[in-house]
């Protein structure tokens, strides 16, 4: 039996190898590479993290780049494109000029203005989109919790806090990291100008969503691969199974009203 208080901190697949870190409260932090495991104390883990920063700084001596100004979760996502990174610049933009990526119908990507982003809409009371389950890259936090935390940090510390800026690529206005911060700032202060960090790449390795949904959908079809199909099939299977269980419960509750009332008292009081 493992420690019940385990939190997965980060996970990555390189080729066929799965790598992950998990925090086992009271025990140690585990690093897993397949069947191989290393145990760290918290201090050793922090020491490892610092060493990795030093290694990356040696590997990528890019003008203006301070790795500690990037959120570690985002650094993990963008690090593979660093060979194309030429420099990092600071800039200022108005919040209403910023755009955010979102998933439209059928999973196709599109961009919308920050004003219409799910973060801003959630802060204004429309939480439908923000409450939907999505893969947040923040550990053990839903989108709603993340938004609440960021709002609290901005109220207490202002922006930028902890030297972390909203991030854009080249001369574009699509937020690459910092959507929650931008949403909170817009909600609190309106259309102010804020400092942002621009990563200037040699060429573009990313694809911006088109204004036209059909083009985005066609692009998605071009990129279909087996693992994506498997993921969607698994998602559909889980949705159908979850729906079937909900029906079973509803039928049970309807046909056994007294019993289900008793069950609620015992198990969900």
């Amino acid at each position: 039996m493992s420690n019940p208080a385990v939190t997965k901190l980060a996970e990555l697949t390189i080729g066929s190898s799965k790598i992950w870190f998990d925090d086992n409260i009271g025990e140690s932090i585990h690093f897993h590479l397949g069947d191989f495991r290393l145990d760290f104390t918290i201090d050793e883990f922090r020491g490892l993290s610092e060493q990795l920063y030093l290694v990356l700084e040696e590997m990528y001596p890019i003008p203006g780049l301070d790795l500690r100004k990037l959120s570690p979760n985002y650094l993990q996502q963008v690090i593979e494109y660093f060979p194309k990174l030429m420099k990092v610049e600071m800039d200022e933009v108005f919040l209403e000029d910023l755009q955010v990526s979102k998933e439209a119908s059928m999973g196709t990507p599109r961009t919308v203005s920050l004003v219409h982003s799910r973060g801003v809409r959630a802060l204004r009371g429309d939480t439908r989109e923000n409450d939907k389950p999505r893969e947040s890259h923040h550990v053990n936090q839903t989108s709603a919790q993340r938004l609440d935390n960021v709002m609290r940090l901005i109220r207490e510390n202002g922006y930028p806090f902890d030297d972390k800026y909203v991030m854009l690529f080249n001369d574009e206005l699509v937020i690459r990291d910092g959507q929650h911060r931008a949403s909170c700032l817009y909600y609190l202060y309106g259309n102010i100008k804020i400092p942002v960090m621009r990563f200037i790449f040699d060429g573009t390795w990313w694809e911006n969503p088109s204004r036209f949904m059909i083009l985005n959908f066609l692009r998605t079809l071009k990129r279909i691969n087996y693992s994506k199909i498997r993921r969607y099939c698994k998602r559909i299977y889980h949705m159908v199974r979850s729906f079937w269980w909900k029906i079973k419960w509803k039928l049970f509750m309807m046909m056994n009203k007294k019993l289900s009332k008793k069950m609620k008292e015992i198990y969900w009081n």
Binding site: M1, P4, I25, G26, L259, K262, M263, I266
Partner: protein, 206 residues
């Protein structure tokens, strides 16, 4: 085991299990629910026995149909009812993981100790969970499942405070809470129940 009067249905169920030579322990008995621990090898036998004796099987609020998963090949929870009395059956002593809706079994040594240290209840003529393991199961339930110490839990822990002196309990805490176990015992002794969850969550001395 919590000292409550067993309902007639619970007594009937105990009688049936004994007659069929099924190994079981009573974990807990409340007015409308009896929690049993049954040996895994008797799983099919107990399902047939209860169904044959007009106990109806129903969906378990913490079972697979409620979206819970059971890791490490743990047997799923079963729930039967008859005349509005629930018989809640588990085959290992389970703990809710930090991973949402995931059950894992407690350490093997604890599973074995439940059967080796069981105590006999003279009044109902059956085996019940011993005090140490029952205390442990209540702590695990408060910290991992309910994530709260309710008033009846606090009353129970306060009454049973002397059990914290037992070395056996400390050993069992250590395989679940590791380096937090000493701190946990101290907080329980000082009756600082409301601090336990936050202290556990933010514990970093490891």
């Amino acid at each position: 085991m919590a000292q409550n009067k067993l309902s007639d249905i619970s007594l009937e169920c105990i009688m049936l299990l004994k007659e069929s030579h099924i190994d079981f322990l009573i974990i807990e008995e409340k007015i409308s629910k009896m929690s049993l621990l049954i040996k895994s090898e008797h799983k099919d036998k107990v399902k047939k026995l209860l169904t044959k004796n007009k106990y109806k099987k129903c969906l378990h609020p913490y079972g697979v149909e409620s979206g819970y998963q059971f890791l490490y090949q743990t047997d799923k929870l079963l729930l039967f009812y008859k005349q509005e009395v629930f018989i809640d059956i588990s085959f290992q002593l389970l703990c809710m993981s930090h991973t949402p809706k995931t059950w894992i079994p407690l350490e093997q040594s604890i599973q074995q100790s439940m059967w080796s240290e069981k105590k006999y209840n003279e009044k109902y003529n059956c085996w019940v969970l011993d005090d140490t393991n029952y205390y442990l199961s209540r702590i695990v339930e408060c910290i991992f499942l309910k994530k709260d110490f309710e008033s009846d839990d606090i009353d129970f822990f306060t009454v049973q405070i002397k059990i914290l002196e037992e070395a056996a309990l400390e050993e069992k805490f250590e395989v679940i809470f590791f380096r937090f176990s000493g701190r946990l015992i101290q907080l329980l002794k000082e009756k600082r129940y409301m601090e336990i969850l936050e202290r556990y969550r933010t514990f970093n001395e490891y």
